[in-house]
Point group: C2
Chain length 337, copies 2
DNA sequence: AGATCCGGATGGAACGTTCCAATAGCTTTC
DNA sequence: GAAAGCTATTGGAACGTTCCATCCGGATCT
């Protein structure tokens, strides 16, 4: 179990520890003979540099911490892919920890990352208060992903949720819909902009008297409850725009079990383009986000502060994309015009 | 950006660094006055112990590394939950890294964990060769999850796949099925035992002449191809047992689009009980695995080697559970008896 | 009163690296 | 042939902790 150290290698190769260190870091700065000897000794002993010791003296770990609010959300997996890729290219490594959809556990995860002295932090769909996050940002660069701030010390990346909502509404209007209800997810990350984007788009189409927004959240259950509420109101719209795919799924279940047809009786649009939205039995029309891009951008933002020492806040927005599937179609009775 | 150290705290509190260290570790060993002073100074400076330095001197990090073969597999998210929970209880923390379904990238992830000097390693659905993993196990405790070994140096946890297959067959036979086809996933992790369990169960029910197994893999596409093959054979069974939920989903799509009814014309059983199997539109009967339990067990195995220094290999098996939903029912024409 | 004990606090070594100034041994230059 | 310059290598300090042996001052014992 005892790992060999740089001293063991030095002794076996008959050189100083400094030389071994140099071989590990810049092999072509040493003579062929020494390099050979050191490499050989290292291989024989199974030497592996101790990143803990290195981090201590260099006062940086070359690790970017990633705190996910929820490991179960497939959305984050793709984002993490992008993060990992971009980090590797720049000579950093990514380390993940989950907040398990609980602000307290998320804080514990962040605390761990700080004690571990990661060089930068990316928070996916964080549930923590911005003021708390700003405090964290006093000790390292922090980028918020999938959530907007205007903070000077915390950067953020996200999709243009307003544009996404607009795309959904435009699509429905183009099909002939007017009575389009939005299920909103309150103040959750990204939700407010989706809601305001919906309202703005409705107005732009001269449908402001049709604006109707029902409060829910980002879960299947929340979507189901909201849809039940809509059905029970007796005032059935021709289309429903959900705040994300999970909520759309919940709504779908309720519509199905009410004996209504999608999209015959009511069209349905989600948001996120999760993998399951593509399943033939689901075939949900939704708004896709360039997930890997988001991850890459987040890494770039962190490294700009770290290596190029940027001091100002940056807030990047990438455009979303409409993905049309089978849950949207023309309204049964076109009430238009 | 410069973090305060234990010295800064000591100076401000007017005590020695050793005392500060003691307050952080065992607060009730110091006098009330000193404790108060130190805690106050620490809070004022925003002191946070440097885990890197601590790890260096203690020669252990209290971190359990978790390498996931695939972040996208929802199966792993639950397992990770169990790992995280069990680790926290025992005073360890879990750190994740993804192998992105690629043996090379997985090795890089493992290498990183080793350099970081994590205390133990849990590998979920690893794609690396066992001999490679055994080499890794020379420097720290390694537990393989969702994959079996008989290794003396590497532990493993998994579900009893044979029992799971038996449960599936028993359920179908109880409903009156006899012509039950198995789609198998070849040699992929867990697949051989599911196949042999199926065969054994069929024999036990006196149905050995009905044994029929079609080769595929663990993906949706693979399941679809196998199901197409079954349909084209012209010899339609009354029930299909897929190697996992993804493959079942593929089969489901093919059956749906052939205009056949599930379970009216053919019953379908999956394996894994993914979250999406519970969606009402899917409602897949499947075999559930106690995922969080698997995670907890893996942690226990690692810590047994670490803290109780066990030296022998352990290979734990936990029982799976049948989850009946809407894709199974009695066969249309009961050919029994 | 001197020896003993005890709780509380301290200073220095150690952990395994990197980094930097210094050195040794050559070659080149004037 | 001494000075200067180069290349390859080295030793020691530093990073921020923990751990251990030691110390200090007061109480308790004989």
């Amino acid at each position: 179990m005892k790992q060999p150290t740089i001293h063991d290698v030095a002794e076996r190769a008959g050189v100083s520890k400094s030389l071994v260190s140099l071989v590990m870091r810049e092999p072509d700065r040493v003579s062929d003979a020494s390099r050979q000897a050191v490499l050989e000794a290292a291989a024989e002993l199974g030497y592996r540099p101790n990143a803990v010791a290195r981090s201590l003296v260099q006062r940086r770990t070359r690790v970017i911490g990633v705190v996910l609010s929820d490991l179960h959300n497939p959305f984050f997996a793709d984002v993490a892919d992008g993060i990992e890729e971009a980090a590797t290219v720049r000579g950093y490594r990514a380390l993940l920890s989950s907040g398990f959809l609980d602000a307290k556990r998320e804080r514990a995860a962040v605390e761990m990352m700080l004690e571990l002295r990661v060089d930068g932090l990316i928070m996916l769909g964080s549930m923590m208060k911005v003021t708390k996050i700003e405090k964290v940002a006093a000790s390292l660069p922090v980028t918020l992903l999938g959530r907007h701030t205007t903070s000077k010390v915390v950067d953020s990346v996200g999709v243009d949720d307003s544009a996404g909502a607009r795309a959904a509404v435009d699509h429905l209007v183009a099909l002939g819909h007017e009575r389009i209800v939005h299920i909103n997810a309150g103040k959750a990350a990204g939700a407010p902009r989706r809601q305001s984007g919906y309202k703005k788009a409705m107005r732009r189409h001269g449908l402001e008297d049709q604006i109707r927004s029902v409060k829910a959240n980002f879960t299947e259950r929340g979507g189901a409850r909201a849809m039940t509420e809509i059905l029970e109101s007796g005032d059935l719209p021709t289309a429903v725009f959900a705040p994300n795919d999970f909520a759309a799924l919940g709504a779908m279940e309720v519509i199905d079990s009410a004996g209504l047809d999608i999209p015959g009786d009511v069209s349905l649009v989600g948001y996120d383009n999760l993998g399951l939205a593509a399943l033939p039995r689901i075939a949900l029309t939704t708004i896709g986000q360039p997930r890997a891009d988001l991850g890459r951008t987040a890494v770039r933002l962190v490294l700009e502060r770290l290596d190029d020492d940027r001091k100002t806040g940056r807030h990047e927005v990438v455009p979303p994309k409409l993905v049309v599937r089978a849950t949207t179609g023309p309204p049964r009775h076109n009430t238009r015009g």
